[in-house]
């Protein structure tokens, strides 16, 4: 683009220029600077265009290695241009080029298989361990709701209707005969196609509630309320079946998938608490900074909860209506509980320690 016939001095100032008016061509260092570096900028521009058209994976290994190098070179050009050049078009160009290159270099990394393994292997359990107090509070609030409803319904069965809506109960209410309630727990009739729809809608419903609990966390109170109400529902059911002497059967029906599902709901509540807490009680740090950091942690936890709900949906869809043996049901419930305790309590601890050490090292530097 730059022709080599640039020898003719463009700004020679002959004539009566008294004293040291701006000198000759050499005086425009910004122009020389641009001629020297222009090729680098254009190469970077081409690479960015390639990334935009395909993706980062569309680059060859050589181009990929060159991208950060060109980016840093152009960034330094921008700093120099700001210091020495008054050509506004040039600084504007460099600024936007650096901006676009910044997207490529510091945009999100491609979540390849490694990232998923990293997430499941240690990031998720580590995040849950990091918010263990919120998990405890969230579980406690839900337990409180359960106990409240349980004892209120136990005292007066009519209170059941206050806690459980008619459409949600779908016939499971104090007016129903015991045999019918019992059949509901061991029902094999609707095993076929309808079951899949049922399980799927249950999963999406639960997952939405869970995400809601997290997102409502900004206001703190709604999350607690949601957890409490969830507990109320559970408690009301428990009291109803208890009154008919079906407690053992109810929990056998509920727990195989319920262990996973309830834990997921508790995790969502905990994530909501983390967000709300960081916002309402920021401690010594600025609110927005705190929200930013804790919010991301909470996001990691919620994604885990959605995965848990998916697992719960699978257990429910495949298992609940096909296995009616109560001992097997309890065995499944116990083993899922044991698995989650191991996973969230102990999985990936070594990697977590390593990460913390690395962070501490970085902070010290």
């Amino acid at each position: 683009m730059v022709s080599t016939t640039a020898k003719r001095a463009p700004t020679a100032l002959p004539g009566p220029g008294a004293g040291g008016a701006a000198g000759g061509a050499g005086a425009l260092r910004s122009l020389e600077f641009r001629r020297e570096r222009e090729a680098t900028w254009q190469e970077l521009e081409q690479l960015i265009e390639l990334v935009r058209q395909r993706s980062v994976r569309g680059l060859t290994a050589e181009q990929l290695a060159r991208l950060p190098h060109l980016y840093r070179a152009t960034l330094s050009s921008l700093s120099v241009a700001r210091a020495i050049s008054l050509d506004r078009a040039l600084t504007a160009y460099l600024e936007s080029l650096c901006g676009r290159a910044y997207f490529c270099v510091y945009g999100a990394r491609d979540p390849a298989r490694g990232v998923i393994a990293e997430y499941l292997g240690w990031r998720l359990p580590a995040a849950v361990r990091a918010v263990k107090w919120q998990v405890a509070v969230s579980a406690l609030v839900m337990l409180l709701g359960t106990l409240t409803a349980f004892f209120m319904v136990k005292d007066d069965l009519d209170a059941y209707y206050t806690f459980v809506g008619a459409d949600y109960a779908s016939g499971r209410n104090p007016a129903a005969p015991t045999a019918e309630l019992r059949a509901g727990l061991y029902d094999e009739s609707n095993m076929s196609a309808g079951l899949a729809t049922f399980a799927a809608s249950l999963f999406t419903h639960n997952a939405k509630i869970g995400i809601l609990a997290f997102a409502l966390g900004v206001a703190l109170v709604p999350t607690m309320l949601l957890m409490f109400m969830n507990g109320l529902l559970l408690g009301a059911f428990a009291a109803l079946y208890d009154a008919r002497g079906l407690s053992w059967d109810l929990w056998g029906w509920l727990l195989p998938h319920g262990v996973t599902e309830l834990f997921a709901v508790i995790l969502c509540g905990a994530a909501g608490l983390v967000v709300g807490q960081s916002w309402v009680f920021p401690g010594a740090r600025p609110r927005m900074d705190n929200l930013r950091e804790r919010g991301r942690l909470a996001g990691v936890v919620v994604l885990g909860a959605v995965l848990l709900l998916f697992v719960a949906g699978l257990i429910e869809g495949i298992f609940r209506q096909t296995v009616t043996n109560i001992e097997v049901r309890y065995a499944v419930a116990t083993s899922t509980a044991a698995f989650w305790i191991w996973y969230f309590g102990f999985c990936g601890r070594a990697r977590e320690r390593l990460d913390r050490a690395l962070r501490a090292g970085e902070g010290a530097r």
Binding site: L13, P111, T197, A215, V218
Partner: protein, 312 residues
Amino acid sequence: MSQATHYLHHVADRRAREIVTPEGVPIRFQLAGPGDRAGAFVLDVLFQIIALVVFVVAAEWAIGGAGEDSWLTGFALVIAFVMREFYFVVFETRWQGSTPGKRIVGIRVIDARGGQLEASAILARNLVREVETWLPLTLLIAGGDVWPGAPGWARLVAMLWVIALLLLPLFNKDHLRIGDMIGGTLVVMQPKTVLVPDLADATQFAPALPAWGGKPQAGPAPWAFTEAHLDVYGIYELQVLEGVLRTDVASTAHHEAVTAVAEKIHAKIKYDQLVPQHEYERFLRDFYTALRAHLEKKMLFGQRREDKFAKK
């Protein structure tokens, strides 16, 4: 500077946000306006719906004979859920903070602090959509179904809460929605990059002489300026002049602006030679080059003269 361009500058400045890259160099971005963001969002939702319909029809065609309560319904439910929650997450992680809708509109998500855009930030900002957009919209459109038999005051409170959430991005200076606050992200315009020739580069402009009468001459000597001439103006005026010279050479507006500015400068610096009208363009270009050389040289010595009111 006309009123209109003045206003545009004002708007551009209010929307400019500076982030410091990990290398320690500040870069300015233009914030995306609420209109752009809403447009991108609507497009993305449209794409999701189209994808869902295509998927369900294809699945039905492939598996065949699907009744009302079949596996397909359950499957479609799960797919719809996954799409709704993870469409944005997947695209924003794969496309460096962009989605199909954002790409069409020309906006992107970046880390508000200038660091790497982390997957957890993308996750957090998008999961919050559930309460920020979907819940409000469902309540607005089908409030009765979500909460049947709600008392009037509760509906009013819910409606106010919903409207406050939906309009939140209009009422904070960075146009953040709650998802952006929790994820620590900003949405900015994708900058356009155009490298225009340097006005001081005579090789680029030698033939570009006035098209309204003056005949091109073979390399006339440039107009010369003394230090006294060049000391009149500062950086601001230099860059306004740059803007004038960069307007479209063929337009009459350019011609008029050049004439007005050349006459004004000629008078202001008390230039001692007469400049014929067909030479105005070249006169301004030479003045620009000389002034820039002069000011840049001063800048090297640590004297940055911002405008004509600053002391010399």
